[in-house]
């Protein structure tokens, strides 16, 4: 069995070794009191620091910039509304009311889908402070 390299003790503590090497190191720690003492000291420091880190943790409030594609949607809305107005006038010109209404319905559906999509994804705040 390969002897334990000093830094492997830390890696073992952090669970960064492959399972086979971890088993080997575990066996050597159990059989070697010097290695055991060294590992225990590392483990004690580790426990203290993990507790300190947990104590310091908090959830910061963070806002993200609006994505470019959302700006594109925002710019697209007036264009869609303009298109709706044009379509509304269209039946008068082509004298086919049913055709005009269909176009209006399609445009309205696109507009509504855009609004719903924007509302669903427009959240810019990643998280709120929990405290």
């Amino acid at each position: 069995m390969k002897p334990v390299e000093p830094e492997e003790l830390s890696a073992f503590l952090d669970g960064e070794l492959d399972p086979e090497r971890s088993r080997e190191i575990e066996m050597q720690i159990e059989s070697d009191p010097v290695l055991r003492a060294e590992f225990d000291e590392l483990a004690r420091t580790d426990v203290l620091w993990r507790a300190a880190a947990a104590t310091a943790a908090f959830e910061p409030r963070v806002h993200l910039p609006m994505a470019a594609n959302r700006w594109a949607w925002l710019a697209g809305f007036p264009a869609l509304i303009g298109a709706l107005l044009v379509l509304r006038m269209l039946p008068k010109f082509i004298e086919a009311p049913a055709f005009g209404f269909s176009l209006q319905a399609v445009a309205l559906a696109v507009l509504l889908a855009g609004i719903i999509w924007f509302g669903a994804t427009g959240e810019r705040e990643v998280a709120r402070s929990s405290v």
Partner: protein, 161 residues
């Protein structure tokens, strides 16, 4: 390249650890919140530079660390000195963990050792993520982290005797 939703999805689980890391460096919760906010904007501005094959957390913490250092530079104070205005946890929390004692020990280590321990414990970074955040090979992460722990343990042992 990550889009806004994917970016938010990657960032959200890292916020508590980001807050802890920034707070440990800046010693102040409000400044820590500012640092995380600045980092979130800076990372988004540079999102095209992010390589999806590499760990996002390591990339993010490198940016956060730079934002913290920018704040420290503006403040013209070292993170290792001056406990005035320290935003320590509640008294009940201090009873459980000697926050200031641990921080003072960390401040006496070399900058490299202090950096890797802060990222490891407050940021909760894995070895791959530490390698990405610090810009060193994984093998160096392993040895540096071990030496840093040994140095810290020796300091703590010295203080208790």
């Amino acid at each position: 390249v990550l889009d806004a939703r994917a970016y938010a999805r990657e960032l959200r689980p890292l916020l508590a650890q980001s807050g802890a890391y920034a707070r440990s460096l800046l010693r102040n919760r409000d400044d820590a919140e500012d640092a995380v906010q600045q980092a979130a904007l800076r990372a988004w501005e540079r999102i095209e530079q992010y390589d999806r094959r590499r760990p996002f957390k390591g990339w993010w913490f490198a940016i956060l660390r730079n934002c913290c250092f920018d704040i420290l530079r503006r403040r013209s104070a070292s993170p290792a000195h001056g406990l005035e205005g320290v935003d320590a946890p509640d008294q009940t929390e201090i009873d459980i963990v000697d926050w200031e004692g641990l921080e003072a020990g960390l401040g006496r280590l070399s900058p490299d050792h202090e950096q890797i321990l802060r990222l490891k414990y407050y940021g909760g970074l894995s070895y791959d993520e530490l390698a990405e955040a610090i810009g060193i090979p994984k093998g160096t992460v392993m040895s540096r982290l071990h030496l840093a722990r040994k140095a810290l343990a020796a300091l703590m042992r010295k203080e208790t005797t």
